[in-house]
Each structure stands twice: as C-alpha cells, then as structure tokens.
C-alpha cells in the first residue's frame, strides 16, 4: 500500500483553567503537557474505524486543553512499518494508543523497549505491565439492530454483507440473528462474504445480490458506505457500521452502530495524569458508552423504537445478554442450554453460526 503517512500535532488551547480544578492542583502546575500518540490503520477520512478513533482523540484534546498534546499517524499498514511508527511515537510520547488488531505484536515489542511509556492496544489480547488492551462489545449493538430488523422486515429475510469469517464478525451475525428470531422465529439472515474490509464496488454488488434474492433489510460488517447507498437506491432498509451513515441513506438507515472510544480515552488519560494508570484488559459495551446507536431513521415506528429501547435498557441493566440459551446452531443442535449465558472466552472464539443464518 502506498504509505501516505501524515503527522499532525494538534494543540488546542481550550479552557485550561476550568479543567485544572477537576484534575487536581499538583498535576495542573506541571508546565509541560503530557504527550499522547495515536496510530491509525486507515485514513482518518474513512468514515469508519479510524475516523471514529480520531473523533475520540479530538474529544480528548478538547477536554484536557493544554494539559495534553496529542498527535496521530494515519494509514499505518499492519506490517513492519507499524513497529517503526510505534517506536517513533514511543520516543516522544508518554502514552501511545495503537488502534488496530494487527498492531498488537509490534506494540508488544516496542512496549518491552520503553517500560516507562504506557501503551494501549485496541482489540488484541496481549497485556504487559505497561500495555493494556481494550475492545468494544459491538455484538450488543447488533442485538438491538436485530430486534429492529425482526420487526421491520416484511420478508423476514435480512442480507448481511460481511468481510472475513473471524470471530468478531461471526459474533455480530449471530447476535443480530438471535435477536431478530426472538421477534420473528422464522427470521433468516443471508450472509455474503465480500472477502474485503473495503471495496465500495464489491460491497455494493453484494448488497444488490442480497436484495435481488429477497432481503428487504441489510446489515454490514465492511467499512464503506456503499451498502447503505445501495439500500437507499433500491428502496430497502439498512443498518450502518462504525459511524452514522445517514447522509448515504436518509430514508434507508434504521440506525447505525457507532463506535465511541472517547469515554475510555478520557478515563485512561485521567489515570495517567493522576499516576494511577495500571494495565488492564477491558471489553466495554453500551453501558459504558463505548457502543452507541445512531438516531433512529424515518422507518422506525413507535413500536419498533420502544422494543429497541427496551433491549438497549435490558443490556445496560444486565437483564438481557444477547447470547443467552437456548441457542441452536445451523443444524439445529443445541449449543447452549436454556438460561445459560455464553462466557466471554467462548464468545471471543466463536466459529459457528446460530440457527437462521445462511452463510
């Protein structure tokens, strides 16, 4: 990939005095701002994954004003280049956020060499005393979408444009289908693997195929807004991915799962400023505000809205877990007994589809 690497240092001189009181006098007197670096796998303009991380970085910078100074490097390929970029950032920053799964091993290697720098790595599983992991329970958002799809789909068939059959994606398909089948027991999810994270043309072809084969509501686990746009053009409904995609489907978008990393970034920055930062491995969801749902679209009736809000509230209160038994696989074998909740460890390596998925 062409390595367009940009570096921008953003110093926003926002209300420093106001924030100082909240942070604590001792730290506030420290003259030099704490430096924080971010590494993005994609362009900040992708309107998806990297874009949302950068939105959180901006929120963070705004909140802390001149107490911190953030910088980012975008379009960093998940290869040898990543380690070099992370090392460069570690040389000048007190804290580094590496925001993609493929940065895990390079981050670990650099973390060993810079024991005083705090590393935060998204969606991986390796921790060290100075390296923490964080991820979001996107499947909770998928369950809300599934509930709405079950009620809104007249055909009872959803189309799902998927990227690669990894647990993260399989988990989303399953959560979506389980929730939809609670509303409509005959609900079916047709999955097409685009075998890419990003190819607007092919994503659009996949969406068209699904619509032609009877799906009247689409979900996606790829990164471009092409699926939403195709749904709008063909007059069917769709769920957005990563960010609010309303602009591409003003009529079509039911809602969108929005990644909100700001609460976590603020918490960890605060801890670093206070000197209480410790390594951790978190998996946050709707409750913590890491997974959000975009405002509902025009197709959402009051009844659907109420049902969706109820599932959301149930997930927040802990009353509802999207992976609660009985759960059967595609062949009808019971995989999880009635009333049982799937442990996180099983969820993280799920590689089979629930009943109703056609993949």
């Amino acid at each position: 990939m062409a390595g367009l690497i940009e570096r921008r240092t953003l110093l926003t001189g926002a209300a420093a005095t106001g924030a100082a009181a909240a942070i604590g006098i001792g730290r506030a007197r420290a003259a030099a701002p704490m430096k924080i670096g971010f590494v993005y796998v994609g362009p900040v303009g992708d309107l998806g994954w990297s874009y949302q991380h950068d939105v959180a970085r901006k929120t963070l910078q705004e909140k802390y004003g001149d107490k911190i100074a953030t910088q980012f490097v975008e379009n960093v390929a998940e290869g040898p280049d990543a380690e070099r970029v992370i090392r460069e950032l570690a040389k000048v920053n007190a804290m580094v956020f590496a925001t993609s799964f493929g940065f895990m091993n390079p981050t670990e290697r650099v973390a060993k060499q810079f024991p005083k720098v705090k590393f935060e790595q998204a969606t991986g599983y390796k921790t060290r005393p100075n390296m923490a992991e964080y991820n979001a329970r996107f499947y909770e958002g998928r369950a809300v979408c599934g509930t709405m799809a079950g009620m809104l789909s007249k055909a009872g068939v959803a189309g799902y444009v998927a990227s690669f059959p990894i647990p993260e994606v399989v988990m989303g398909i399953n959560a979506f289908t389980l929730a939809a089948r609670k509303v409509n027991p005959n609900f079916k999810t047709k999955v097409i693997w685009a075998n890419t994270w990003f190819d607007p043309g092919r994503e659009s072809d996949a969406a068209k195929s699904l619509i032609d084969q009877g799906a009247d509501i689409l979900a996606q686990h790829t990164d471009s807004p092409a699926v939403m746009q195709t749904a709008e053009a063909r007059g069917v409904l769709a769920f957005g991915q990563s960010s609010d995609m309303r602009r591409f489907g003003p009529k079509a978008q039911v809602t969108s799962i929005v990644d909100n990393w700001a609460p976590y970034y603020i918490l960890r920055t605060q801890q670093a400023l206070d000197g209480t930062w410790k390594t951790d491995d978190v998996w946050w969801g709707i409750k913590e505000g890491m997974v959000e749902l975009a405002p509902y679209g025009p197709a959402v009736t009051d009844k659907v809205r109420a049902a969706a809000d109820e599932v959301k509230a149930g997930i927040v209160s802990g009353k509802i877990h999207p992976f609660t038994g009985p759960i059967k696989d595609q062949k009808g074998n019971l995989k999880l007994a009635a009333g049982a909740v799937m442990p996180d460890a099983d969820l993280l390596k799920i590689n089979w589809y629930v009943e109703g998925v056609q993949a």
């Binding site: 367009l4 693997w193 607007p200 993949a359």
Partner: protein, 309 residues
C-alpha cells in the same frame, strides 16, 4: 424465481464490468503502440476524484466526465514526459504513477469524504426500455455503459481498418522500422498513452459517479491491476477485452449471488478465487491454441525507444 433473479444479476454484471472495460481498452491501445503503463490504478483514482469533485461543484455529468478524462490524461502526460521523452524505465515510471495518483487523489478527495452525488441518469429508450426481458437487459443503463461497448468496437475498427491504426501497431511491433520509414514514433506513442489515460480516468469516474456515487480513498480497490491483466487476457484485442471484462465481472458477481442463494456449500474463500482461477484457465487455453503466434504481445512492448542522433 430464476428469471426474477437472472435479469438483475446480469444488470449488476454490466455495471461491474464497465470500469474494467474502460481502463482495459485504454491500456490496450497504449500497449499496442509498445508502451507498458502500469499507472492505470493511479489514473483511475485521479479520474474518480476529479470527476466527483466537478460533479459536486457543477452538478453536470458531462463536465464531470470531461474532468475525469482530463485528469487521467494529465497523469498520462506526466508518464509520457518521463518514460517517452526522457526515456526512463516504463515499469518504474508506471508504478510511480500509481503511487502518485493514489496520494494525489487522497489529498484532493479529503474534503469530499462522506458526500454523495446523484448517480448518472439512465438512458431510457422510449418503447424499447419497456420491453419485457430485453428492455431491462439491454436498454436500461447510463450512457457510459453504451459508450464503453461502442469504444471496444470503435477501437477494434481503428486498429484493423484505418491507416492510423496500422501505423500505431507498426510502432508497437517495430519502432526502429517505423521510425526509418518516417513515422514519428514518440509522437504516436504519446497519443496512445494520453488516450489510455483518458479511458482510465473515465473508468475511475464510472466508479465514483455511477457504480457507487461517492468518494472514498482508494475506492478503485485494485481494479487498475485487473484491467492490466485483462489486456494480456484479451491478447491485445478490443473484442476479447470486452468479453474478458464481462466474463470477469460476471464471475465476480455470480460468486456473490451463489453465496446469497445458499445453494452451494463451497467455502467462500474458494468462491472468491473463482474469477482469478477462471482467468488463468482461459489464458492457458487461448495461449495454447494453434493461433498462438497471432496472439503474442506487441514486439516492442515496454522497450524504450531513443531516436539515434
């Protein structure tokens, strides 16, 4: 059920093949003159972003397409100066052009991310478009689809039947001989390369204006490279390029439909390989035919030509 799915399937194939066809035809003409330009992907991206930008600014399809062609041509001109006038390596220059086009389109496109434009309008033919089966299959596309198909025939006619086409081929087969009988080798190659750039630009614009009317970084997603492969697949013949683009588009879309139909229990990764496997198979078959000698590449393809002084 089958008939209901078949027509939209074929329509999807047509839109999927069109950008490939434009880019492949342009490159085919350049290669027939003996120039290998590996910058197709970069020129497509430039066409995609400039077409989208002009569409956003003016709302005119025609101006947007002209801008896209101009953007592709400008990049091709840069290639020409380096590889033809300054006699730099065509391979290295072409690769650099792809990287340059990717970067340039990202820079220009930054402010267009997240915006959308109305798709190119369908050219409905009164009477014909309403015909059952034939109507939706043949007469319900935008003008660019017809232009791409017409270009394939026009280029075929030009290369075979016209004096200009024969000179162009002569330059590609033996630059020294063409030069010795007085043909301006470099000037002819320039024209062929610029034409290739314009076509690549149009192919890119088809993506950002019709296929998925939006701008996203690197939205061509490797189609420029597939177009390059199609030229070889087509054995440098426009008619075969037309077939190849539709075959490739067809198999790509068909494998998506097969997944959605749930009829085939084949792992998706294998289905995704099918278009490429089919390409290799067809290549093997056509190159082992008795007509092999007629299918060979232009003899001077990729060779630098310098006028002896």
């Amino acid at each position: 059920m089958t008939g209901g799915v078949l027509i939209p399937l074929l329509q999807t194939v047509v839109t999927s093949a069109t950008p490939l066809l434009f880019a492949a035809l342009g490159e085919l003409v350049a290669e027939r003159s003996g120039v290998l330009n590996l910058g197709v992907e970069g020129m497509m991206l430039a066409g995609a972003v400039f077409g989208f930008a002009v569409m956003t600014a003016t709302g005119s399809d025609t101006l947007a397409l002209l801008a896209a062609a101009a953007a592709g041509t400008t990049l091709a001109l840069l290639f020409g100066v380096l590889a033809l006038t300054l006699a730099a390596s065509q391979v290295a220059t072409g690769l650099a052009l792809t990287i340059f086009g990717t970067g340039l389109s990202t820079l220009i496109g930054a402010r267009y991310t997240g915006r959308t434009v109305p798709p190119l309008p369908r050219l409905d033919v009164p009477g014909l478009s309403e015909l059952p089966v034939i109507g939706p299959l043949l007469f319900r596309y935008d003008a660019m689809v017809y232009l791409s198909v017409a270009s394939a025939f026009a280029i075929g006619w030009f290369l075979r039947r016209t004096r200009g086409g024969m000179v162009l081929r002569a330059v590609g087969e033996s630059d020294v001989s063409a030069h010795s009988i007085g043909h301006p080798v470099i000037r002819i190659r320039y024209l062929a390369v610029l034409f290739g750039g314009a076509m690549a630009g149009l192919g890119g614009a088809y993506l950002s204006l019709a296929y998925t009317p939006l701008w996203a970084e690197q939205m061509t997603a490797g189609r420029g490279w597939i177009a390059l492969a199609l030229v070889v697949f087509a054995a440098w013949r426009p008619g075969r390029a037309l077939m190849g683009a539709y075959l490739f588009g067809g198999i790509t879309v068909l494998q998506l439909y097969l997944q959605g139909s749930g009829l085939v229990a084949i792992p998706t990764q294998i289905l995704a390989m099918v278009p490429y496997i089919a390409t290799i198979v067809v290549l093997t078959v056509i190159s082992s035919a008795s007509a092999r000698s007629r299918l060979s590449a232009p003899a001077c393809l990729g060779k630098t030509f310098r006028v002896a002084t």
